[in-house]
Symmetry: C2
Subunit: 229 residues, 2 copies
């Protein structure tokens, strides 16, 4: 499950993925590879639990994870997703400030990640400019992400957010989305009934067609109009 990095080809790959390795001092690159372990994670495995003290920082090289909050009533809302080249920066923030993790993180696509100990995270952030810039940029990006979420749920109507969501989730794939209404609701921070209702509206207006467990986008332009209506 856990292995030290040694393959030189792998090294090169990682250098391309993580900007702090490019142009870094060779001694640090060496150090980085020597003190890093690779882990693999199946989908739907918990990565961080709310309230946890974090012992490692995970840099994702493949796959993706979802960071989300759970409300008193059991509803969920996704704060952001992280993919290759990124890291669960909330972990870093917890590490640096010695705080418990304020949310949940779970794997979605099968994940391959590099594990870095808290000690290394702190040490490198003192010694390696490129590393701390990387951390700083990531955490700034996340702050931006979460501010966008606030804006969305505070001001935008659910039907428009949903239209937007469907478009974004099919950007890199075809027009078929394999997902349940509940999963969408958990991303958008609303309830399953609301999503079902609106999807049915969309279907009746000919924008999509629905089957159990999947949605087909038949009129993207119409959805685009809806999303910015």
């Amino acid at each position: 499950m856990i292995a030290l990095i040694s393959d030189p080809i792998l090294k090169k790959k990682l250098s391309n993925q993580f900007p702090f390795l490019e142009g870094a001092e060779p001694s640090f690159v060496q150090l980085f590879f020597n003190s890093t372990a690779i882990v693999h994670l199946e989908p739907d495995q918990p990565i961080c639990q709310q309230g946890m003290q974090c012992s490692h920082l995970a840099l994702i090289t493949k796959g993706s994870a979802r960071v989300y909050k759970i409300g008193e009533n059991g509803r969920e809302i996704t704060l952001y997703r992280i993919g290759p080249g990124e890291s669960c920066i909330l972990t870093a923030s917890c590490i640096m400030n010695d705080r418990p993790f304020p949310a949940f993180a779970i794997s979605e696509q099968p994940i391959e990640a590099l594990l870095i100990t808290t000690a290394d995270v702190v040490r490198w952030s003192n010694d390696v400019p490129a590393w701390r810039n990387y951390l700083f940029r990531l955490i700034s990006d996340r702050l931006g992400d979460v501010i966008s979420v606030v804006e969305e749920i505070a001001f935008r109507r659910v039907d428009r957010r949903l239209a937007n969501y469907l478009l974004h989730r099919t950007e890199t794939t075809d027009d078929n989305l394999q997902i349940t209404h509940q999963a969408i609701a958990s991303d958008l921070g609303t309830s399953r009934e609301v999503i079902s209702r609106i999807l049915k509206d969309f279907e009746q207006q000919g924008m999509i067609s629905i089957t159990r467990g999947s949605i087909h986008l038949s009129d993207r332009q119409c959805l685009r109009n809806k999303s910015i209506e």
Copy 2:
């Protein structure tokens, strides 16, 4: 309006307020004071506008500011407030990553602040460990703040949030709150009518009494129960 810092007593005061000055190298402390200007700001003055490129970072020494988003419909929501010893860290994040500011910031209490140029912000974050730790901690705190806001608006009912709000806003003062319903609505990200309605409910239940422009908390315990109901 703008003056260089020279008074030694003032220096001492500031050292107490900003952790990165305590125990810092004397040469940096000297540098910091030499390259820092003091500004004063009346209440309700804009500090940062959404979309701005930031040219300075403001460290607040007195007073407070409010950072908020404005929705398409004109409604507002407060992301967080900053007070003495803190700084408009979103600015720092914009500076470090060369991005436009994603929100609005406005002074509330009369502000006294230290202005630092973007060049110094970047330079010190490379050279001065205590400074970059300060920045990192601030931005982490803000991320935590904004995540809490998401949780609030996504999952909690307005009446409970309002009860909680009233209690928090009178924590350091007496039981009289000088504020309009509109201002509360702008903090909580809802509309004035909703706040007025609920306040009226609270009044009829004997928790508060309302007069034009101010609210008196007559039964804090009852409000506490309401807020966690």
